[in-house]
Symmetry: C2
Subunit: 475 residues, 2 copies
């Protein structure tokens, strides 16, 4: 048992110690930035995928999977897109000892894999909308420092690609994606801001980009997802056209929605504390761990009772782990708290005698209750725990922002700044220089903060076209 670094003052040290201590990942694989999904980490990821699948399929999107390798010739069709990615793709140049005629790249994202095929699939307005998604691994030759889940070279990735008949329908799809993400984030007890990026920071090839940002660590922000409106920007080079009801040929309007394993990193970062990870029950590999406490007569009875408790909960589809190992109970508590298990149930000789169990949730709330109320008490306590986790995350989220009305206010602070902005690129860059960071953009649908009246731009003093913008230092 070792003390973790302090989350507030040494965030990244804390984060790295926690993801390894909880055994969510193993970085000892011999390629930098490509880590092993350990069984425990994989189970969390599988839960995350399940939530994403449930919410996106509820909006009528269907799964499919495109190949991992993309021919160089297809990749080069959209000029801005290739410019955005060309320095960070992995190239496959040989099969066996034979040089390939056309080099293949490992997908960094799948526009250039999918769109040549969409051009074949889409013929008529009856083929629209085409709403499809895939959950696959993508690859980026990162040159920055890699961090488990936050910046890796092989990325577990969710990507929806939709094709719509008109620009307005594509705009509606963006709104539907925002709703779907709101439901996902709620299931993960994760507050976030949807931020429309300034034009100079949108995705390569996009008409506009909405990022899903959270404050993280010491005055940093983390983009945990994005939704893009492509208008006809890809449809034209890839010739994705349909015959409208009036017989005319039109280009489709496309959107994409991307999420990744960063969400898992965000959950660790937001909910974690001085004891380690704290998983919301929706994503916890085990919602409940049952620890038998040996008595003077040995541990046989309590182990049997622990297993019986686990079976009852599993019969209700709870994910439960029994830990009958020969460590001291205190060492087990430490380990499962570090691992973020929402609810621990203890069964010792006293509990056996009284026909009850003791329980402690990951936030420290303790109670004993009769064994015959087991299922109902576990349901209730997990629901209460999730609510408490969400309330704490919301409080932390709100306190991460601070309004800055003048350039002077932008000076060093531990907050993400909320600034009045006239919308000009010049003023945006001035804000960026002042904080040595980025103007993240304008929040869609407001922020949960008390904001003063918009009066003048933080840098140029203009009083026209004002909006609130976020500024911070992306991780």
């Amino acid at each position: 048992m070792v003390d973790l670094p302090d989350k507030r003052t040494a965030f990244m040290d804390w984060y790295l110690a926690v993801v390894e201590g909880a055994r969510l990942t193993d970085k000892r694989y011999p390629v930098k930035g490509m880590n092993v999904w350990t069984p425990y980490g994989f189970l969390a990821r599988r839960r995350l995928d399940t939530i994403m699948i449930r919410e996106i399929e509820a909006t009528g999107s269907v799964p499919l999977e495109f190949p991992t390798l993309i021919p160089e010739t297809e990749f080069q069709k959209e000029a801005e897109h290739i410019k955005g990615f060309s320095t960070e793709v992995y190239w496959v140049t040989k099969g066996g000892s034979t040089p390939l005629d056309v080099p293949l790249l490992l997908r960094p994202t799948s526009e250039t894999a999918m769109y040549p095929v969409f051009a074949i699939w889409i013929r008529s307005h009856k083929d629209l909308p085409l709403n499809v998604y895939q959950i696959v691994n993508t690859f980026r030759y990162e040159t920055k420092t890699t961090r488990p889940f936050l910046r890796v070279r092989e990325i577990h990735f969710f990507e929806e690609h939709t094709s719509q008949a008109t620009e307005d329908l594509a705009t509606e799809r963006v709104a539907s994606n925002l709703d779907a993400f709101a439901r996902m984030a709620r299931a993960l007890c994760l507050p976030y801001a949807a931020v429309r990026r300034p034009d100079w920071d949108k995705f390569a090839g996009a008409h506009y980009s909405i990022a899903l940002d959270i404050p993280i660590g010491e005055a940093r922000t983390l983009q945990i997802g994005s939704i893009h409106h492509y208008r006809e920007n890809f449809a034209r080079p890839y010739e994705i056209r349909y015959e409208a009801p009036d017989g005319s040929q039109k280009y489709v309007h496309q959107t994409t929605f991307g999420l990744s394993e960063r969400l898992l990193g965000a959950i660790v970062a937001v909910h974690g504390d001085a004891k380690g990870v704290a998983f919301p029950s929706s994503i916890a590999p085990y919602e409940v761990v049952v620890v038998p406490i040996p008595g003077k007569a040995g541990s046989g009875d309590t182990i049997a009772a622990a297993k019986a408790v686990a079976e009852r909960l599993r019969a209700r589809d709870r994910r439960v782990h029994v830990d009958p190992g020969d460590e001291r109970p205190g060492a087990k508590y430490y380990r499962w708290e570090l691992a973020g298990v929402p609810l621990r149930i203890e069964i010792g000789p006293r509990e056996l005698e009284r026909k009850e169990v003791s329980a402690a949730d990951r936030l420290g709330k303790k109670a004993s209750f009769p064994l015959d109320r087991l299922e109902a008490e576990v349901d209730r306590r997990l629901a209460q725990y999730d609510e408490a986790l969400y309330a704490a995350a919301n409080a932390q989220f709100r306190s991460a922002f601070a309004v800055a009305l003048t350039v002077h206010d932008l000076a060093a602070s531990k907050h993400v700044r909320v600034v009045p902005w006239c919308g000009s690129e010049e003023c945006g860059h001035r804000v960026e220089e002042a904080i040595d960071g980025s103007l993240l953009g304008t929040p869609e649908g407001g922020l949960p903060l008390p904001l003063p009246k918009l009066e003048k731009c933080i840098t140029c003093d203009a009083s026209e076209g004002l909006r609130w913008a976020l500024a911070g230092r992306p991780l």
Copy 2:
């Protein structure tokens, strides 16, 4: 609507027409042998994965995921293994425009990715057994003709890797894998033979290999999976050792169990017929399709009734698709039969009036029943359909084999041969020459065929050490 090629006389033409006609795959992706998993094909694959996950986790195996890319330096540690794969791996040589210091290969299988890390994870006998699996894509630079699902360059792959304390425990794991596969195959209504490959045809690096083979098409066989006992063959070069209870250092004994998307190809090949695919309900993307039949008064009422039927079945976790499109009913029947949907329900004005539905299963069995018995009738009819499918597959399986007692009997035939064999490599190769194929090996646990008494080897006339062996032409 076009006639399909004849399955019996033109198997591969039939197969290719069926997988494309059913829209299980799209081969028009611009890299040969790398196909698109269409939504319909992907849903079948997801069901297949679900069955594999259920059965392997029931044996105590846990999921994880290793990186896709393997450094050349790790790959080269096991000499036979690299010899087996070196001509068919894809090499990643550049990141952006920078040549990589150590070339990386796309995993063809994951021994050389996992075992360096297992050497870190495994320290003590308490760390054993280590039973883990992953479902990932693997890559092989195939030089033979590619075929959807059967031989592709990006392969959807299931691989279990286990480490055991002793050779006997590894042998037990092989038996446990055979049991798990038996349960998977039963769920897929798929008869198969578990065949211990001759030494000259075992997996690169294995102590022995058991293949899971099915007869397919015209006197061909298809390996749909394999289970390998590695003994210490990988543990020694990768230094995977543990401290035994007596304090000594020992090498682990390893096993692997591999399955792939070939299983989906096998299901198409075995159960399909002149009308197209016939999915067992366990794997069908849709178990039921509901077709409203328009009456004179239009189709509004029957569409509403069809949707109500679908909702009732979905409430029971059935996978149901409603097809209210404006095609003729006959065209819809043709399409859903080609796609292999187990049960079709029709609702027209007559059914509405009588408060009943008409149903036809994919094998042509028809009936009408009252709407208030919907759920029970669907359960019953799907179960009957699966049994009928399995019975037909078993009859087909048995009729695919023929005993050959002399080299003369090996002459051209449409059967997989069952031959008495002395076990020598020389005699094995003589059989192979005679059939222009392979001695597949000896069936584990017998074959469901009447077999005469073993008297003498098919080629050398020896009467000692005899066993039955299968011989055929692998696809």
